[in-house]
Amino acid sequence: MKGSAPAVIAAAFQELKSRAEPRWQELEDTTRSVILVGAATCGRAAGAREVLQALRNEVKKRNLDCPVIEVGCLGHCYAEPLVIIRKPGYPAICYGRVNTVIAEKLVRDFVLGDDPCYEFILGALEENDLIPSFTDFPRAGYEKKLILKNCGHIDPEQIDHYVGNGGYAALTKALQMEPVGIIEQVNKSGLRGRGGAGFPTGQKWQICRGAPGRLKYMICNADEGDPGAFMDRAILESDPHSVLEGMIIAAYAIGARQGYIYVRAEYPLAVHRVRLAIRQAKKQGLLGRNILGSRFSFDIRLFQGSGAFVCGEETALIASLEGGPGFPDYRPPYPATSGLHGRPTLINNVKTLATVGPIIQNGADWFADIGTEGSTGTAVFALAGKIVNTGLVEVPMGTTLRQVIFEVGSGIPDGKRFKAVQIGGPSGGCLPESALDLPIDFDSLREIGAMMGSGGMVVLDEDDCMVEIARFFQEFTQRESCGKCTPCRLGTKQMLEMLNEIVLGQSRMKVLETLARLAEDVKAASLCGLGKTAPNPVLTSLRYFRDEYEEHINRGCCRALMCQELIVYHILPDK
């Protein structure tokens, strides 16, 4: 398909932008105060809705001309609920751990009065002489927000905010390019799939575009299921249009007319916001027939998955989308040549698609300059576990684990000792202290037995037992195994039973050999990605923390005091 009259597209976008601008300017208004409340799921869990209501009530009660706007996740989940106040004469100030009482006080003392309430300040959003800003935080030196740029700064339910802040400009640019040119840019950027495996995105698009057949599909994989991972959820809740924009560009590049977003139903807020975003995009002519006046037509439907972990695997996702049980199939043929209803189907992760817009907008070279040679761009991690600053971070690829955990995440709470970091969820591995200086990218992680996975990062300290962690993930994969192929169905069960015995102190050293051998075979013989990666937590913990396994078996003790059956109580007679 040839790109159609560039002037028409540019004019259509200009009209859209001029409609959106006034709404966006409201936020940047320099004549009155504006209050933003982070109310993504993480904020809501900490009470953001009550804070939002309290702020609105207080503003109304005092008859203030001050909009209170709901925004997404700023990434500082450890300090939720977050409130940002922009007041003329002050920098934008972010307050952390706000409750309803503090909220009322902020309106009274700061918006109405002139006391910025220093005691509740987390940081200012921009540098200034008055208040320490986020840029002074050690993490600011490492973070680079590409995908999370809008998160926490715009109202995700207002398409005008997205457009006003530069959104859909990349789509406008893309529609004026040849599809092949777009693929070339993505190829040149070196972008690799953010879903975990790290397959070159441009190559996938090329295969799908080159696959014979007029009917093609575009799917966004938002079936995030790793325990401890919430990057995709945060993006869909905080900036859904960035994903839609990436999808439309991808669909134009491969020549798809129909798209699906596969979101798990356990993300009700994400479902709501994506659905709303699709409706808004349709209304503005960004979806549907002749997008922005071009000859390209594309539509997106939202599909709610039922929360089976295996449905994040491409072939199982397609089976589920087709209405069957979510069981994986063998590959090749890959979905890019034969996927949904046997048609060429492009499946990309939420983060991959959110990256597409910035690449088209700023150029492939700009993107390729970020990160490492083999893994360009940024990585988004969800920090969880024993870490001070839980939340979302985005850093360039090649940042070391130590920088992410100790600088960005501010290290381990309560003065405890770092033991391991579990990266990549049930498919990833447990890495020890010696791996902390490893630059994180797709290849370095695979080399040491872990994998990027979707970006969950769970930090473990001296109170965590590595055998129990391996057992926990094995229990998860066994429960989530679909049961279709032998190695995954029975192999993960066997491994789980062996680990169960070890944590009970009822095992023998010989079992470790069987366990390691079985883990390797399950990895090599399983049908789909779930089984192929399920043994990783066991293999890496055996490799890096074998002494803990041996302690459990030989001495019947668990140094982390986590395995309850192995705890022995002694009465000290002299006390």
């Binding site: 195994s481 049961g483 032998t486 190695p487 192999g491 066997q494 039973e497 062996m498 069987t514 051998r517």
Partner: protein, 215 residues
């Protein structure tokens, strides 16, 4: 139809273009262990993971059922890496099988016994834990009896029943709990109408047995 010539274990064979490597081998008298494949079934289930072979040019063993024959393909069915994966899959199955051969109607006519002989493996793996399902035998259907404990979930009966008997069989549950069952996941006696003998006959083990044979 075009024929393809390839080499398996130093033996040159020919096979129709588009055939799977597994069936090309089996048709030429070269045995590769398998449970989930059927000659007429298009597209493999690739679920039993027993037919691993080594193909020249590929770094890892691959299931023969998922490979289409290619001109000049060189295949080794006896490579150690392939046999190890097949062996592990087989032992995993056997660790969850009752192995009551003496009392089983499929005795001497059982694929599992054949595979054990081929792979030189015991029917009772020593290193793995015995993980039995302990499900009741379903004798409620007048035509056949069903022992879910002996089922290896190959899916042969499911496929045949969908071709010939309107899909009376199917799978239920996930992971270790996965079972072959009927549409309502209820007693087999509640299946209305006749189940063709073929659905029962394709069972590679003694899980499905025709009652006539029993008498």
């Amino acid at each position: 139809m075009r024929t393809i010539s390839l080499t398996i274990n130093d033996q040159r064979i020919t096979a129709p273009d588009g055939d799977s490597l597994l069936w090309a081998a089996l048709d030429n008298g070269i045995y590769i262990p398998n449970l989930c494949s059927l000659r007429d079934k298009p597209g493999p289930a690739a679920s039993c993971r027993l037919c691993f072979v080594e193909v020249e040019g590929l770094s890892q063993p691959v299931p023969a059922c998922t490979q289409q024959v290619r001109e000049g393909m060189v295949v080794n069915t006896k490579g150690l890496a392939a046999l190890r994966l097949a062996g592990t899959a087989f032992e995993l199955l056997m660790a969850s099988e009752p192995v009551t051969c003496g009392a089983c109607l499929a005795n001497r006519n059982c694929e599992l016994q054949k595979i054990a002989r081929h792979l030189h493996l015991s029917l009772k793996p020593r290193h793995l834990k015995r993980l039995l399902h302990d499900l009741p035998v379903d004798d409620t259907n007048p035509q056949f009896s069903y022992d879910p404990n002996k089922c290896v979930l190959c899916g042969r009966c499911v496929w045949v029943s969908r071709q010939k008997a309107g899909g009376v069989f199917g799978f239920a549950n996930r992971g270790f709990e996965r079972v072959m069952t009927n549409f309502y996941n209820g007693p087999m006696g509640e299946i209305s109408g006749q189940v063709c003998c073929e659905c029962v006959a394709v069972c590679p083990t003694g899980a499905l047995v025709l009652k006539d044979e029993k008498l």
